[in-house]
């Protein structure tokens, strides 16, 4: 069966510090991978998605970036965090059919920028 791992679960970082969140998927190959952010009481905002190694699509221009160095690894990064980067970050994957198949989410990372 397929599993998705996302870490860390919680993170408190000062403004201006770097960020690296990692997500890995097991039990499937060539998944579509996604990073979402959820602000308190809000829906999910798609940040990045990837349909293959090295292929990244950005939905929202900001100081975050994403990389996919391996087929089942997706990394969210920032060189300098802003207060507005606080939120709940969720990694997800689908089969290659993309939106025609369900999204499978990790348990999320609660990021607080102080």
């Amino acid at each position: 069966s397929q599993t998705i791992h996302q870490w860390p679960a919680t993170l408190v970082q000062p403004v201006g510090s770097p960020l690296s969140l990692e997500c890995t998927v097991e039990g499937t190959s060539n998944p579509n991978l996604y990073w979402y952010r959820q602000a308190a009481g809000r829906g999910l905002q798609l940040l990045f998605y990837s349909v293959g190694i090295g292929q990244i699509s950005s939905e929202v221009p900001q100081n975050l970036s994403a990389s996919r160095p391996q087929d089942r690894q997706f990394i969210l990064s920032s060189k300098k965090l802003l207060l507005s980067d606080s939120g709940f970050y969720l990694c997800a994957w689908t089969r290659t059919e993309g939106y025609n198949s369900p999204l499978h989410f990790g348990n999320g990372t609660r990021l607080t920028v102080t």
Partner: protein, 111 residues
């Protein structure tokens, strides 16, 4: 914005009652999906309904889709306290390659 909207924003019921949540969207879709999120956790997929389908069932869940009204509903029958969670609809709009999520309905089921 293409974002779908759930209604109501919050719903409080007693165990054993039925819970109905609605989702409206703006343009033509390929499919519509419902997800559940327990507090502080990731989302869990519940049901996917395609644009040419009108109704789908999964256990105590029933989803309907009315493309003429651009709306969907999620019915949870015989609610349990464990159903307490936020429920989101997500739409796969025609011409777009990703899902768009609404803001969700918070469901509280009291014992």
């Amino acid at each position: 914005s293409q974002q779908g909207e759930e209604d109501p924003q919050a719903l409080s019921i007693q165990e054993g009652e039925n819970a109905t949540m609605n989702c409206s969207y703006k343009t033509s879709i390929n499919n519509l999906q419902w997800y559940r999120q327990n507090s502080g956790r990731g989302l869990v997929h519940l049901i996917l309904i395609r644009s040419n389908e009108r109704e789908k069932h999964s256990g105590r869940l029933r989803v309907t889709l009315d493309t003429s009204k651009k709306s969907s509903s999620l019915l949870i029958t015989a609610s349990r306290a464990a159903d307490t969670a936020s429920y989101f609809c997500a739409t796969a709009y025609s011409g777009y390659s990703t899902l768009t999520f609404g803001k969700g309905t918070m469901l509280l089921v009291s014992p």
